[in-house]
Amino acid sequence: LGSADDDTIIIHSDTDFQDIRDTVQETLWEAGLDEDISYEVRAAADDTEQRRQDIQSALQAGRSTPDMFMMDSGWTIPFILREQTLNLEEQLSGEVLDTIENDYLQASVETARHPETDELHALPLFPDFPVMLYRRDLVEEAGYDTEGWATEPMSWQEFSEVVADTRDQSDVDFGFTTQAAAYEGLACCTFNETMSGWGGAYFGGVDNLFEAGDRPVTVDEEPVLDAIRMMRAFIHGQEDEHALEGYEQIAPTSIVQWIEDESLGPFQNGNAVAHRNWPAFGIAETAGEDDFGEAIGAMPMPYGVTEEESEYEGLGGSRVALGGWHLTINPSTDKIDECAQILEAFTAEEVQLTMFEEGTWFPPNLDLLESEEVQEIEPLNRYTDTLQALGDRAVPRPVTDIWNEQAAVIAIEVHNAYTGQKSPEEAMEDLRNRLERSEADVEDVNAN
């Protein structure tokens, strides 16, 4: 009853990948892949959670197909830790490994390595990071010069003033829309990047991201609290006693029940000034010919404190959450060699470019964004400079084997703080306790 004939490699992925499969296959062959090796995409649900569960049950059951999995960079490490991926260092050629080591966006590669051995277990397929979109037309009408905004981050304070002012001057209802529902996205991304922009971290800086157990929990430090207070100012305004002073009320309260799709709505309908979202989605939906076109501007995420002001290395300044997807090989597959060859072919530059052209998947080698091919792609070409600027600012979430557990708690407590059910201090205090307990649990286990 299986659909694939026996020599075809089956990749567990999504419909987007399925749609571009033929072109990509061609390109792979052009890039030197053995003509006998073909692959097929099995599109699972597009929802990342469901895909993870799907993969989890396949690997748990030791199924031999699919042969390869496309995994979110946010949850690849747990699979690596559970020995459900193949160590690629033994499969890929040194040359390819070098390319990955040198050319690929390092933040991304970090999430594809075994945190203890540093061995590569997944091939980054594409990275992703959000941008701040804004209505350039409205902002300019309101009298602001947007020159340089595309690459030069501004502070949140300035941002809030600009947005509030623009909103008041134009007839839109909302200033800034983002995602703040109590879901993984809050923990991994929107709050993570805001907090990072304030120089805060969950576990004391970027060095402790991938190994749970013996690391400090720093969620109740001032930068983190400030990030929350700022958001409370955005949401509730200055009447809120926990609002950070000097920040305008710019976000609708509804953001606390919004995820990507809902939050885009008002902006897409011309009812918001600024909007934070993933570019492949946000830009595609708003900056097309039929939509707002050139009126949409993009800028890096604003910052709370500058990099210098930040206590931790690599934090502060404009920060964006790192997303993106990797490819891994199913350890139970009978076609390890073929899989490895496919992976190698995916590292070819033309393949990366094709993927961007066809599926707006950023090349893991961000330098390729400057290439001519990219410059021809509407409407993304208008925003490549912003996107490129983001690469260095990407902060990965602290993915460990217990990250999902921690993410849920983080989302709840941050959400509690956003909605005002708890004061920022209270929420972060509670969060710290929960996280410490969770860290201690792994430490116990590892000690055994």
Binding site: P78, E83, T253, V256, N404, Q421
Partner: protein, 333 residues
């Protein structure tokens, strides 16, 4: 399907053999297919899961489960030390009645949320379902279409049911949030509030599952021997008395089955929550099981323990019905 014609050749010995079994042996024989299926799909997995609940969680490594830890997993769940986003039972006690901190905190207790949900749900679905069934039991033109209309919510998949209510209460999309806010019943972001979401989920579930009750009660109503109504009418029973003294007691067995399964289903509510407010906003017992199992962090031991705790709670709650069944004259238990 078994044949009954004595003349039929080949099956005859089997049929004879079956006919001559004692009542008990015959009963066990006929139960075999059902129990075989249940053993494979239910009893065996449950036994395996039960075993899992006594093993340690292993978040990394190839082996999903560690060594035997006795009741540790259960104890952790009860003391609120489990690795779960929301806790099973995390009550703040107060000195005043009802001795439990209600309000926000209340809606974040999986146990209480689930129980409150189940009780309210069964209450409303029973009342509404009964009303619907009575309407559908009448003969009137267009009854068939009304019947379809009443049953259709039951045919809507849970994800879609969730989507409908999720979108209705999405401030920029639907009208629900604004309407309820304007009425002063909900806050401005109901799907972000545990309390408001609880009621949204309740409404959504009552909307869908009343049809289940209606369908079963209707079947019960239609099995009532109509001549009994004639007797009752002549005896002078008013419509209400006929309902109370004839219809209700005769429908009661079907009603009890409907309520029993509705209770169990309501106590296992998950999909609807996941597709509307999310498990972090409105935690239910099953939410916890699912999150433990699929949350990404591998805590299978805990997950198994939560599942069994959930079953135990449902079991305790359900025992009310079992007592009721026993009371039931000619009842099934």
């Amino acid at each position: 399907m078994p044949t009954d014609a004595p003349e039929r050749g080949r099956l005859a010995p089997v049929v004879d053999w079956m006919e001559n079994l004692s009542e008990a042996a015959y009963a066990y024989l006929l139960l075999t297919p059902a129990f075989a299926l249940l053993a494979l799909i239910a009893f065996y997995p449950l036994a395996a899961t039960f075993r899992m609940s006594f093993l340690e969680d292993q978040t990394r490594g190839a082996e999903p489960l560690g060594g035997f830890v006795g009741f540790d997993n259960y104890v952790n769940i009860l003391t609120g030390d489990a690795r779960l986003a929301r806790q099973f039972l995390d009550v703040q006690l107060t000195s005043g009645f009802p001795f439990v901190e209600l309000g926000v905190g209340f809606f974040q207790q999986a146990l209480f949320v689930t129980l409150a949900f189940a009780i309210l749900n069964v209450l409303f679905t029973t009342l509404i379902g009964f009303g619907q069934a009575i309407v559908l039991d009448k003969d009137f033109r267009g009854r068939r279409w009304v019947r379809v209309a009443v049953i259709i919510p039951w045919a809507v998949p849970i994800v879609i049911q969730g989507m409908i209510f999720y979108l209705i209460f999405q401030p920029t999309v639907g009208f629900g949030a604004d309407l309820m806010n304007w009425l002063g019943l909900f806050g401005s972001d109901p799907l972000a509030s545990s309390q408001d979401s609880f009621f949204i989920i309740l409404i959504a579930d009552v909307w869908k599952t009343s049809a289940f009750m209606a369908l079963l009660i209707l079947a019960g109503l239609q099995s009532v021997d109509r001549s009994l109504y004639n007797v009752a009418k002549v005896s002078g029973a008013s419509a209400w008395q006929r309902f109370k003294l004839i219809t209700f007691p005769l429908v009661l067995p079907a009603l009890l089955v409907a309520m029993l399964f509705r209770t169990m289903d309501a106590m296992r509510v998950y999909g609807l929550i996941e597709s509307t407010a999310g498990c972090t906003t409105v935690p239910s017992l099953t939410c916890m099981v699912v999150e433990a199992l699929f949350g990404g962090t591998r805590i299978f031991g805990t997950a198994a323990a939560v599942a069994f705790m959930t079953a135990a709670i449902i079991g305790v709650f359900i025992s009310i019905y079992i007592v009721k069944f026993r009371d039931q004259e000619g009842g099934v238990y």
